[in-house]
Amino acid sequence: MSNEAVLHGHSEVGAMHGLHDDHAGHHHKETFITKYVFSQDHKMICKQFIITGMIWAILGGLMSVIFRLQLGYPDSTFPILEDIFGRWAKGGKIQPQFYYALVTMHGTVLVFFVLTGGLSGTFANFLIPLQIGARDMASPFLNMLSYWFFFLASIVILSSLFVQTGPASGGWTVYPPLSALGDANEGSKIGMDLWISGMALFVVSSLLGGLNYISTILNMRTKGMSMTRMPLTMWALLFTAVLGVLSFPVLLSGLILLLFDRHAGTSFYLSDIFIASTHKALPNEGGSAILFQHLFWFLGHPEVYIIILPAMGLVSEVMSVNARKPIFGYMAMVGSMFAITILAFLVWAHHMFVTGLNPFLGSVFVLLTLLIAVPSAIKVFNWLTTLWKGNIRFTPAMLFAIGFVSLFISGGLTGIFLGNSTLDIPLHDTYFVIAHFHIVMGVSAFFGMFAGVYHWFPKMYGRYMNNLMGYIHFWVTLVGAYLIFWPMHYEGLAGMPRRYMDYRGWASFNQFEDLNRVISTVAMVVFAVQLMFVFNFFYSIFKGRKVTTQNPWGGTTLEWTTPIRPGHGNWPGEIPEVHRWAYDYSKDGRDFISQTEPIGSEESKH
């Protein structure tokens, strides 16, 4: 990997030590283990997160390709699947238990392991110290633990794919009683225990990481870096961490109660249940299955902002740099992210309009939910104005940033349908919901992540990714995403329920057979193009064009003041002092003014 990079960086740190002895020394001998495995360098931890995240993304994506095969070609058999999966795909047909396991794991993996762990883990680790001007995280050790708990969680979840009764298969929301009763569902046997254990480890990882990000941003900013001089990425990652720290424990508590119901005979979620497969009535009475949904969505809804806020931050930064313009309405951007963070905690029950929730309570949640559209609209208009009268460079990162805004608009607007309880009645749990959240938090968040990867790859590895492959990656993914998810809205309007593995028995939903085939085919093409991105990533680590200038994109922020391949400690000398905000692009006729430059006496005010 960037062996020489680290060595190079270190020699610089060492050389400068004679001059500046005021910061912690890094003379300790690094072995392979401390440098690559149990590393405490935030940049290495970032790389660990992104590579683990990519492996998960490929697995999660592959799962969707397999179940899309079933949805698109329900009449065909695929003998190759039987060769690989054995009895799960008997006769080349995907079995229902396997189908539901795939759906469940696809959701779990992508929501938690890729778009939470992979996205926040990668960019919070990489950018926080570099952009606020710190040598590392507040606690590099906890930071390392955060990655290794994430890794352990991954292993536990992965192992559930290999147990005899299969992984959890009740949907990623694991609603009890289905998830509590092994007799009601094969996947709710040991697979569910592994799911809960894996998520518990994941929550630990997320808390260790989150607390670290918050304390680093609040306490370790360099001289002159006031909160309002921070780039928007920092604000986004700060709010994300706050959301995670406050909401993940609630999920964990909900899961612990579920564990008790499963094994200790308690009745938190269980009541009045007769299991047909065993002809037995369970002793549990008085529990509430809906209680779990309240606990789950108290995390589950903030979770979607945990996924989208970092993407918003990355996009704001990339867009401003490549439009050569300050981000429009910096304070409004911070304010709207703050509003989203607060509202994120007050809207969870909009996932539960049809559970028999008190209609008055439902109406309160309608109001609060649609309120979120206001800060979201402000952000969209501010991005549009940032592009207006810019001088736009279409780097692959910038393309993904623009694609993000397009998708965020499309997916955000359908949120106005679903957040309104009247419309949620027919649309709840249909393909409309699938289309909505895949566009607004799935593909959008991926676009934000791609923008970030293409933009900061030169900082991570000292090399560029291949541009042409980047362009192909972008255009195929953007077109593909719309082709896959746009028509799904119509399936949802027809009331076509999600999580059905076969629609042929239904007079109301079998009119979409051709459409399903088209969607499946496009999904496979888009998946193949993501593999090309992964190839581009790894190839460029070793063989990409080398970065020859310190500041290849002409950015104002602090990470571009470090050496091309920074060592542990980031700046060889003293940490630079900050004199201005992060968005002085094209000010007073100058292309950009770095944050480290003092304000000149002639300079115009904004």
Binding site: A281, I425, Y490, A528
Partner: protein, 356 residues
Amino acid sequence: MSNFFVLLILLLGFLITFQIAKASEYVSVLKGEKKAFEQHNRVNGFLMMVFLVLGLIGVYWCNELLRGKILGEAASNHGKDIDRMLYITISITGVVFVATQILLFWFAFKFQYSEKRKSFYFPHDNRLEFFWTVIPAIALTILVGFGLMYWFRITGDAPKDALQIEITGKQFGWIFRYPGKDNVFGKKYYKDIDDGKSNSLGLVWDDPATHDDIVVNSEAYIVVNKPVKFIINSRDVIHDVGLPHFRMKMDAVPGTPTTMWLTPLYTTEEMKKKTNNPNFEYEIACDQMCGQGHFTMRGVLKVVTEEEFILWKAKQKTNYALAFPEKEMQASAVKDDASKAVAAVAVSKDALASSK
């Protein structure tokens, strides 16, 4: 074998792309980085415009192609309200969608890099920001207003004369119960459930109110233009009574009964003509993941006229009679009822005919 070929073709395609991508880097070195960048920028800027135009055409075309497939007109009173709400929302969000997407891609195209252009330093403008805080707020107020008006109408109490039907979900099917002549649902207790003894709901036989309750599986009858109130239960896990043609839906939660009411506007026969589909049925789809048979959990609601309903109901045996067939008395009483009902319907038909 064909799998192998597909993989081979994919690999080949990938290798070619990779070689071209690699070559493009060398070309840009030869041409000069700046020139290559400007060329790429122009191509991507042009594609922005192409995407916008083709995308908007695609949206229109997709609508033409699929709008006939979304189940047509709503078939219940609430469904009509919901469809109205849908079109109000589509018209507001549709305008926003088209306008913002055009601005986005047009700006990207128009303000693409040019050596001559200087970016405009424009960090903020309070007036503009105020403007686009207030406009969305007003639009949303309208949507919330309409939404809640319909919401309270839909979730409000059912009319007093509504037909009452209990629906119970189980893995993987639906059980319906009618209260019988006394119009009272007898007591039930889940521990009394015994599928072998024809007591799938666990009716408590000690309660005489259960004796005339009628229990049927997978297919239930309701009356056109007459409000019907569903009392929804589950026997095992969470299910959901999804009625796509009525645009209605409600979860079935074990231990916590829920309710939903609506007035069906067209009989099944009328819908067969309306949709030109001789096999049309009002399907009940389970809309909450309930296990491996989730996708087979189908039920049917037959919407019929009042007379047909009376006739159908009269033919049904009570659950009590099915559970205790030895009790002849009960059975013959039912037969009596049936013949009386048939006679009653005949009379009312005559009456209808004469009134015409």
